[in-house]
């Protein structure tokens, strides 16, 4: 009896927890179809498709999405390259100072975003005062590469830890040189880890608000646009864009895990 109760209580609780996790995602999507009275979009009025039909009717919205995508692409590329090299070094080689290096790489992840943003801001202020270093897309890019490097290293390293070194040895035994072994054996094996890391980096960059807030100056990324419009009322088009981002990200994850399962 007690066991039956325990099992079903746990099941009911899990159901509630899932609703709790998913409710805001549902609300974001739902309110992209709302037809609000006035500027604020907090109460449900009626269903309409007009915001989806006029996705970029809001001035500045399209520009902000383009800026965000550009920053996400470049920062992902840079952070994935730097991070993957470092992860390879940490997994494949034993050297003095490796534990200290691991801890150092972990520190940016353990630092609140507000501190990362604030310290980069003081750096840019100190570089050229007065007048101080101009904050723009370039400074945002530096900030995003910085926080993404650590995420990439940790993710790639986690995927690399089950790596079978004997495959590389076999390749060497069969007469391949170091370069051939890397491109024919090592790289294909670590590719899923790199893909996962770049997906993570991309979604972190495109969604980052706190660090961007400190390093953006007048540049408006999509999250900066949301923050700016939160005071006067977020237009439903913003919800629509958020929904598109969500669907694209989930599809990418689903396709990725499907491909990996087929290979395995």
């Amino acid at each position: 009896m007690l066991r039956w109760l325990g099992r079903n209580a746990l099941r009911a609780y899990t159901g509630l927890a899932l609703v709790y996790l998913l409710l805001p995602i549902f609300i974001v999507a739902l309110f992209s179809f709302n037809d609000p009275v006035g500027k604020t979009n907090y109460t449900w009025v009626g269903f309409t498709l007009s915001h989806w039909a006029n996705l970029f009717a809001i001035p500045g919205l399209l520009d902000s999405v383009v800026v965000s995508l550009r920053i996400a692409f470049i920062s992902t590329l840079a952070a994935t390259t730097l991070g993957t090299l470092a992860a390879l070094a940490l997994v494949r080689y034993q050297f003095r100072g490796r534990p200290a290096t691991s801890l150092f790489i972990f520190l940016p992840l353990a630092t609140p975003e507000i501190i990362l943003g604030a310290s980069l801001l003081t750096l840019f202020v100190a570089i050229g005062q007065p007048p101080f270093f101009p904050l723009n897309e370039f400074t945002i890019l530096i900030a995003h590469i910085t926080f993404n490097i650590s995420y990439v290293i940790v993710t790639v390293r986690a995927r690399l830890s089950g790596f079978d070194r004997r495959l590389e040895e076999a390749s060497a035994d069969l007469g391949a040189d170091g370069w051939q072994t890397f491109w024919r054996v090592t790289f294909p094996l670590i590719l899923p880890g790199i893909a996962a890391a770049s997906l993570l980096a991309f979604s972190l960059s495109i969604d980052d608000f706190v660090i961007t807030n400190f390093t953006a100056g007048r540049t408006t990324t999509f999250p900066m646009f949301v923050w700016g419009s939160a005071r006067v009322g977020v237009p439903p088009q913003v919800n629509a864009i958020g929904t598109i981002f969500f669907v694209v990200a989930v599809s990418a994850v689903a396709i990725g895990s499907f491909l990996q399962r087929r290979r395995a």
């Binding site: 974001v28 907090y42 730097l82 590469i145 807030n213």
Partner: protein, 290 residues
């Protein structure tokens, strides 16, 4: 180059690490030092800033002036951490032991919020918790709650928002810890006549503690720096140290005070992380992220 490396294979890992480490030194370590220096500045953005050790008085002044916000941040972060822990443990337990073939799906749902914009999620809770929203509206209309009852703009809303946003960081490390436990230990406990409650107390819970600690740290740290939840869901009475830092930096251009506050916050947090890493290592912490 390649021939040189062949002769000195010990250099290769350092060469692979160098770009990433150099980047982090330039844009993580150096800015932190710069921030320490900025906390000892005096002057304004227009006239330029001058450094002097005498400006160390900024620290006690800032601490005195913003002690309320500091204490409130610690309180809200602590309460949010406990809320997350209580909510996350049963969920992590279900995913680890009871989910069967739904395990991957459940894990995916745990991280699903990260695929929606952070700010839009916070604003969605503003919709749900609104004075006449989905939750309170019906309860008020049937008379269960008084008309003037509200959640928005109260500490509860802010703590709720913080807990929601960092909830996955608690679930994942606990799940990883639970998943690692050898279930034969629990069977052995039962063979030795321990009931399910006692087996849980003596075996499962102690072995899950590393995950609990890691999750607590991963929730507490970002919660200490929060200003978005406090700004969007709270009121003037719920301002956190993050709000002060943000407005001192970006609205008032009061760099010395803002830098001093940031530096004190960072020093406190890094001390906690170091102590944690010394005792337990970073494995569980990284599992919440990777």
């Amino acid at each position: 180059m390649i021939a040189f490396l062949r002769r000195r294979p010990g250099l290769l890992p350092l060469l692979l690490l160098a770009p990433a480490i150099a980047w982090l030194v330039a844009f993580y370590v150096y800015p932190a030092i710069q921030m320490l220096q900025a906390s000892l500045w005096s002057g304004t953005l227009e006239s330029g800033f001058a450094f002097s050790w005498a400006n160390a008085a900024t620290y006690p002044a800032a601490l005195d002036r913003y002690s309320d916000q500091f204490l409130r941040s610690i309180l809200y972060a602590a309460v949010s951490t406990v809320v997350c822990l209580v909510l996350a443990f049963p969920l992590a337990y279900t995913i680890a032991y009871r989910a069967g073939r739904f395990r991957t799906l459940l894990l995916f749902i745990v991280i699903a919020p990260f695929f929606t914009s952070f700010l839009l999620r916070v604003l969605a809770w503003k919709t749900v918790l609104g004075d006449d929203g989905f939750l309170l509206g019906p309860l008020k209309s049937i008379g269960l709650l008084p008309e003037e009852f509200r959640v928005l703009a109260t500490p509860i809303a802010v703590i709720f928002g913080i807990s929601y946003n960092f909830f996955p960081f608690m679930v994942l490390p606990i799940y990883v810890s639970l998943e690692k436990i050898d279930r034969r230990l629990v069977e052995a406990a039962k063979d030795l006549y321990a009931g399910p409650v006692r087996a849980f107390q003596r075996i499962t819970l102690p072995l899950a503690l590393p995950g609990v600690f890691a999750g607590s740290l991963l929730v507490f740290i970002p919660a200490m720096g929060d200003f978005v939840n406090a700004e969007l869901l709270g009121s003037v009475q719920t301002r956190l140290i993050g709000n002060v830092i943000q407005s001192r930096f970006l609205v008032n251009n009061d760099y010395p005070t803002a830098a001093a506050l940031s530096f004190m916050l960072m020093a406190g947090i890094l001390a906690a992380v170091f102590m944690y890493a010394r005792v337990l290592g970073t494995d569980e912490l990284e599992s919440g992220i990777g």
